[in-house]
Amino acid sequence: MTSRTEVSKSVLRRFGVAVLLGLALAAPAARGETSAPAAAKVSIDNFTFSPDRLTVAPGTTVTWTNADDIPHTVVATGKAFRSKALDTDDSFAFTFTTPGTFDYFCSLHPHMHATIVVEAGRS
């Protein structure tokens, strides 16, 4: 990683892809041993949840992090989860155990809304 500053950006990009591919090929053996719980992230930026539709496997913990200078909330329309107000850089996490479609919105800025789909057989 320290060598990054010494290579040009285009070289870095190609090199970086090669490193990532290498990691991906090497990973399965190690992953089988540890079986870390699944995790996914949603960012809140510019009054937008992103991605606005996320599909995860049951048992996945989704973490929302607010990058705006204005507080937001993460509130399930069906009341399955509800965060406190998230100030800048604050996070909220919820573990989805049951399959289903979970619509949610910001209760302060309700034009902000998005969906988590929990589906068996997805990773």
Binding site: N46, F47, D68, A85, T88, F105, L108, H109, P110, H111
Partner: protein
Amino acid sequence: MTRHDRDTVTGDGQTRRKVLECMTWAGTGVLWTVSGGVPRALGLIDQAQAQTQSQTSGQDGLTFLQISDSHIGFDKAANPATSRTLEEAIGRVKALPAKPAFMIHTGDITHLSKAAEFDDADHIIGGARLDVHYVPGEHDVIDEEAKLYRERYGRGTKGAGWYSLDASGVHFIGLVNVVDLKSGGLGNLGPDQLAWLADDLAGRSAETPIVVFAHIPLWAVYPAWGWGTDDGGRALSLLARFGSVTVLNGHIHQVMQKVEGNVTFHTACSTAFPQPAPGAAPSPGPLKVADDKLRTKLGLSSVTFRRGEQRLAIIDQTLA
């Protein structure tokens, strides 16, 4: 002395230019929109005050002030010192040659509904030594059940904090459109509040001048950013028979005005930070301007009612 003809009042080429500039992004209908800057506005407020003092008293009229969106507790780049700019606004109030009847605050007193933020705001605003009539913004009701807001400002109000009062023959109505918001929706008054409003207006003479104030604009300023109220039209239909209706809002941190029949809609500046013009940025988040421009984007409004005149005179003053 109404704001939309103030270019003829001031005879100021710069003022007219600002009005024209800002009309370029006005999307719908007949719309007057003005950026924060009103050159020599302090002079204008002085004039309005002097006229109010000499021409009107008691039943003949009144002048009151509107401040909005203090956001005490906000400390990000767009304004790290929101307490100081609120103090400056209150300083302008204290310096007025004639004392206004009272002040209204159209919400977002605090940034995060914290007790210390409410305390700081109360302390600073109290320096004006005026009665203040509040309505909450969405930043004031972040805690569950809006407990802190209602403890401080809810006495004598209905529901989430709505109420009405009379002053010098004008009927004032404070509405709450920031609670129980629905996914995908805008500001919300709700059936209980609308039923109360119908009741409050019943039997009132159509000659009674009405001032409605609420945090989020009651008219559709820019729904893509949530700048409007889903059932605002229902409130306006209840007000349709009145000859003079003035709707005062905050929330969008910039001055905007629209006149539609008997209804004048006006939004006030924030004392904390500006927000972009509708659609002029990726989101309505705080707008960082050059430090020496900040106070040209912040301000407060003075509203004068004179008996016999249909429209109230609204004058915006910046902190520059």
